[in-house]
């Protein structure tokens, strides 16, 4: 079993299952805060999928997009929490 097969047939399915579980929480979440947390974790899992995919395709350029996604996740969470606090004032 080569590294390609291992990453393609074991690691990526595990990450896909975790994405499905997070999306279930995103759709179910009782409060809006749960949805914000699920969105944050969804983007963070996306960074991991990009890292594995850059190994599979031998393209290190994809890691730039991972960095931008990390930035956007942080900005989104901060903006959501800011406006949630303002809404209840």
């Amino acid at each position: 079993m080569t590294l390609y097969d291992f990453l393609y047939y074991i690691i990526l399915p595990i990450l896909s299952i975790s994405v499905i579980l997070i999306v279930i929480r995103f759709l179910k979440g009782p409060s809006i805060v749960d949805r914000v947390i699920a969105l944050d974790l969804l983007i963070t899992t996306g960074i991991g999928i990009i890292a594995v995919y850059s190994i599979i395709t031998n393209q290190p350029t994809f890691l730039d997009i991972a960095m931008i996604l990390a930035l956007i996740a942080f900005l989104g969470t901060v903006a959501f929490s800011y406006y949630l606090e303002k809404r209840n004032k």
């Binding site: 080569t2 590294l3 291992f6 990453l7 074991i10 690691i11 595990i14 990450l15 299952i17 975790s18 994405v19 579980l21 997070i22 279930i24 929480r25 409060s31 805060v33 749960d34 914000v36 947390i37 699920a38 944050d40 974790l41 963070t44 899992t45 960074i47 991991g48 890292a51 594995v52 850059s54 190994i55 290190p60 890691l63 730039d64 991972a66 960095m67 990390a70 930035l71 996740a73 942080f74 969470t77 901060v78 959501f80 929490s81 800011y82 949630l84 606090e85 809404r87 209840n88 004032k89």
Partner: protein, 132 residues
């Protein structure tokens, strides 16, 4: 040897991300879900990115990966604290099995200021020093 290292790192990273997802769906409370998201997912993503850095063996890519890991390590606690604070102010209930709520009745809901209940004692001390 390098392939085995990459395989082990990627396996642990994927397992930690899966544990974070299972915790997100199984935890009974918003605050416990925030706790899961911060720790397990950060460790898992860090391991997956380190696996990518080991695979490419290039200085520039290693620097990029280290920058991403440092950024995630810096921002995950900050965003978790912010969203936890917002959820406490917006009145999300704690789980019924929680035994301690230290913030109960200690903050002003209109001005969002936190009181510890010990403000009186230090003020008296400073007044005495000022009088002397």
């Amino acid at each position: 040897m390098t392939e085995i290292t990459i395989g082990i790192l990627a396996s642990f990273g994927a397992i930690f991300v899966l544990l974070a997802a299972v915790g997100l769906i199984r935890m009974p409370d918003t605050y416990l879900r925030i706790s899961v998201t911060t720790k397990a997912a950060t460790l898992g993503i860090g391991l997956l990115l380190v696996a990518a850095a080991v695979f490419f063996k290039d200085m520039s890519i290693t620097t990029k990966v280290l920058a991403i890991i440092l950024f995630i390590l810096l921002t995950a606690p900050v965003s978790a604290h912010l969203i936890g604070r917002a959820s406490y102010f917006s009145g999300v209930k704690l789980w019924k099995g929680s035994v301690l709520d230290d913030l109960n009745g200690k903050y002003d809901k209109s001005s969002h200021k936190l009181r510890s209940g010990l403000e009186e004692a230090p003020e008296k001390k400073t007044n005495k020093i000022g009088e002397d």
